[in-house]
């Protein structure tokens, strides 16, 4: 069996790290779903305020999404602009 080079090790670990970083997607998924459920509930209770409710819901979901997007950016950096490979 040939020896694993340092570069290959870093690339492999970065790929695993990118996958782990995307676990961050769970949080925004739950949060956005909860917000959407509450929004649907409120529209059911007050159908005349639908426009305002949808706008507020989207605003909250956009802010809740931030952590997931940070995870995605970390994953993209690890895959395509790896800073660790230059440390060798």
């Amino acid at each position: 069996m040939e020896a694993i080079t340092g570069r290959a090790l870093i690339l492999a670990c970065s790929a695993i790290g990118a996958g782990l970083a995307m676990i961050a997607g769970i949080g925004p998924g739950i949060g956005q779903g909860y917000a959407a459920g509450k929004g649907a509930e409120t529209v059911g209770r007050q159908p005349e305020a639908e426009g305002t409710i949808i706008r507020t819901m989207l605003l909250g979901q956009a802010v809740a999404e931030t952590t997931g997007i940070y995870g995605l950016v970390i994953a993209l950096i690890l895959l395509f602009a790896n800073p660790l490979i230059n440390l060798l």
Binding site: A62, E65, Y70, V73, A81
Partner: protein, 234 residues
């Protein structure tokens, strides 16, 4: 490794050579389209709107009333800026439909736009509240919260830029993976000369990633800008 970054198309032979990327060229295309649209659509205005005048009036009406609702009567000066921002972002995000790279899939574009919002917020904070009240805002609720408040302010443009960038670039990468996958699937059934599976199947994904997510993200960008700028006043 072959990445998903913007390709450098050519270099302007000034100084050490200024690289011009796909992002810049695609932004030029959008600028040309929007300028042409503005010139053609506003040439002959009539009292009873017809044809393209209806589109322009609807756009201006919707954005004006939306700004009024979100920011209030006194901050209506931002309506034209928000409409411009919305049109630029919407056209950028929809550019993926034509097989071009959306300029918003580049962190430089989104960060520049987020910095505009950032500077508007702090300029208004200093001039409208007065420098002292503005500086005092950083010591709320307690003086030792100062570093946290500063980090919170700096996180605003970063989250604004990364939200748009992450959504668009994520959609772009998924689309690229699906196109590549369909090309290999066509090659596997012996049609490598014509990747026939690429026809039709990605259309639904374009509908979601480019049209739906693109428009929602441009809307969210201007809405968050409006809310943050509106908060800077009081």
């Amino acid at each position: 490794m072959e990445g998903f970054g913007a390709k450098i198309l050519f270099e302007i032979p000034l100084f050490d050579g200024i690289p011009v990327t796909e992002t810049v060229v695609n932004t030029w295309i959008i600028m040309a389209v929007l300028t042409l649209f503005a010139v053609i659509a506003t040439r002959k205005f009539e009292a009873v709107p017809r044809g393209i005048q209806n589109v322009v009036e609807t756009l201006v009406d919707v954005l004006t009333s939306f700004t009024k609702q979100t920011m209030g009567e006194k901050k209506m000066v931002y309506a034209p800026y928000m409409l411009t921002l919305f049109l630029l972002l919407a056209f950028s995000n929809l550019l993926g439909l034509f097989g071009l790279r959306p300029p918003t899939a580049d962190l430089n574009t989104t960060f520049a736009l987020a910095m505009l919002t950032f500077f508007i917020i702090h300029f208004n904070g200093i001039t409208k509240k007065g420098p002292l009240t503005y500086a005092k805002g950083y010591l709320e609720p307690m003086a030792f919260m100062l570093p946290l408040n500063i980090i919170g302010e700096l996180a605003l443009p970063i989250s604004l830029a990364f939200r748009l960038f992450g959504n668009i670039v994520g959609g772009m990468i998924i689309m690229a993976l699906i196109y590549n996958g369909l090309a290999s699937a066509s090659a596997a059934i012996g049609l490598s000369f014509a990747p026939i599976l690429q026809v039709g199947i990605p259309a639904f994904l374009h509908l979601y990633f480019d049209v739906f997510a693109g428009l929602i993200q441009s809307f969210i960008f201007i809405m968050l800008s409006m809310v943050f700028i509106g908060n800077a006043y009081d």
